[in-house]
Structure formats: C-alpha cells, structure tokens
Symmetry: C2
Subunit: 195 residues, 2 copies
Amino acid sequence: MREFILFSRGITREFKLNDLPNAGRMDLIARCISTAIFLSYSLRKDVKFHVVLNGPPSPPLTVTFFTNELKNVSPDERNVASHINIAIKNFKIGKKNSEPGIYIDKKSFEQLVREKVEEYGSENVFYLHVEGEDIRNVEMENDSVFILGDNKGIPKREENFILRNKIRKVSIGKIEYLSSQVIAIINYEMDRRGL
Amino acid sequence: MREFILFSRGITREFKLNDLPNAGRMDLIARCISTAIFLSYSLRKDVKFHVVLNGPPSPPLTVTFFTNELKNVSPDERNVASHINIAIKNFKIGKKNSEPGIYIDKKSFEQLVREKVEEYGSENVFYLHVEGEDIRNVEMENDSVFILGDNKGIPKREENFILRNKIRKVSIGKIEYLSSQVIAIINYEMDRRGL
C-alpha cells in the first residue's frame, strides 16, 4: 500500500463549496487527494490518503480515502471537497464509514503516524522536507508512507514527534513546491521504480 | 521561457464557476494552469501557459497566463477558472489583455504551435506522449515548449500537424497521468536540471 498523510489546517465543520480556501485551505487538501489517487480515467490501486484536519471548531479529525473502495469521486477540487463535507456531516451522527472508501475518525496526527510506524516500520515512513535526502537515492518499498504538510507546513511539536520516531526526511529538491505538486512527484518517482 | 500549450475542449463562452467539469473540463484546465505557474507562496518566473479552448460556441480561443505579470491569482481551481471567465467576457468587448498577465485571442492551436516553432525552433518544442522518448534522456534548454492534451488528448489532425513540424514526442513513462500531473512532473524534471 502507498499511503499519504497530510497535516492540514482544514476546518472540522461543514464548509461552503464556493469558498474552499477559507475552509482551512480545503482547496489545497482536495487538490492533494485528487493528485494522489487519480490517473487519467482511473483511480490508482492500493493508495490510502489520510488528511488530518486540525482547524476549528473540534480538531483533530482524520479523513481517509482508500482507492480500492472509492466510488463516484471526480478529480475536481469541488467534488473531492464535497466528499470531505459529507464525511464531516456523517461523523456528527456517529457514522465513521461515510461513503465507500471514505472514512473519518477523531484521530490525531500523532496517533496516525504511530499506527503507520507500527504497521510498516519507521524505515518505510518518509517525511517530505527540503532538507531531506534526495528521493532518488532512497530505497523504497511498495509499502511506503509519505508525510507532508499543507501550505504552513508541519508544526515544530509534530515535527519533533516525527523525528523521535526515526522517520527519515526525504527531499525532491530545493524548491518549495505546492503540496499537490509534491504528491505528483512522489507518485512519479515511485511509478518509475515500478512500485 | 518555459511554455506550455494545452489543447482543450474548454468552452468559449462564460461558464458557471460551480460546475467547472461541464464547461469543457474547465476544472482540468484550471488545475493545469495552477500546477504550471505556482510554487509554494510564489509564482514561477518566466512561465507562459497557453490553453486553447476548442469547445462551443465559437472556438478557437487561446488564453495565455504569463507569470511575470500576473496579479491576484490563487492556486485553487475556482480562482484560476474565474480569470478565464473574465478573459472570455473581456474578449467579447474587444479587450485582449484581460488582466495583468492574462491575454486572450482568437488563435488556433495550429497557429500557436507554428508561432512557437518559429520562435524557439522545433528542437525546443516537445509533444508529451506515452510513446515518446524518455524525458530523462532528452536534452532541454531553458527555452522549451511543452504541448499536451486534455483528458481526451490531441485529435489526429492536430497531432499530424505537430509531427509534420518535426516536434519530438517525449514521455514521462507508460502510465497515463492527469494532464496536471504531467505538468508537475515536467516542471520537476526541468527544475532538477537547474533550468
């Protein structure tokens, strides 16, 4: 499984689809998900995308998209965001499997990272960072987890948690890309290796 | 200058920002532009993005985003699309420089490609195609033009035109990516070479 964990400031209540940027950059979040899970006319297989929403009013919430089960999702930001909105609504009535392949739970970034370290081993979890080791020199497995932040990055406390867990920093270069561009590049680097 | 030419079915009249997919995949177009021109918190320098709108009612129209002059554009699809909408509206009253860095004209794909071949030489114009030469083996200059299609690709007639102009096919792999993903990868490959 290829997994992504996005630390975000996405808000944790329903939001307006006409103003995604003001919902804690829900546009960025949707774009990251779309970039991670879609290929032309198909969904990737075996990809899980987790976004941790750390915005008001009741953080954290983790929304997971699992491509092997997803239905009726389109690559446009508005559509992806609408499914996050539905998940938030469903969570309020206690429903954690919001739609096929879409899950939501009151899980923090640290809990999620800890789970993945236990599941895959810290050597298969990577923290995307400009100062990391060049991704082209890093050995990777099919089972790899990539952690990245939204436009404001990952706060110091969470970053310390990552590093304490022996998660390695990897880099795609000295340029600070949009989070969604980082994801496109990771997928591409993995694809080129036949992973 | 790094330039992109997107052959699209985008419609050539004003459209609803709440339904970009039904405006000839204006979501895809906006996502491509955003991916091409933005970095984290900044616009790239020296990038021109041309989208040829070939959808109804009055194709073709070419909209160009030039990063060195752009103002007030955000990376979300809705925002980018809103600027295309404004350009279409302005063109109706004869205004070809719609906003700073945003131009619109009644120019066809073939005219545009011909201009770029004359400007840069056909050796610096590349057609993204799964069957092309691996991009990592292709020498490139700072001045490079990349041609790609939307979700339906480039029609046979236009493709023949490209090939008659001695434009080379280059490939980023055997996987058919979203057009916006292709653009992220091209930028990344160029960036890694310091171009």
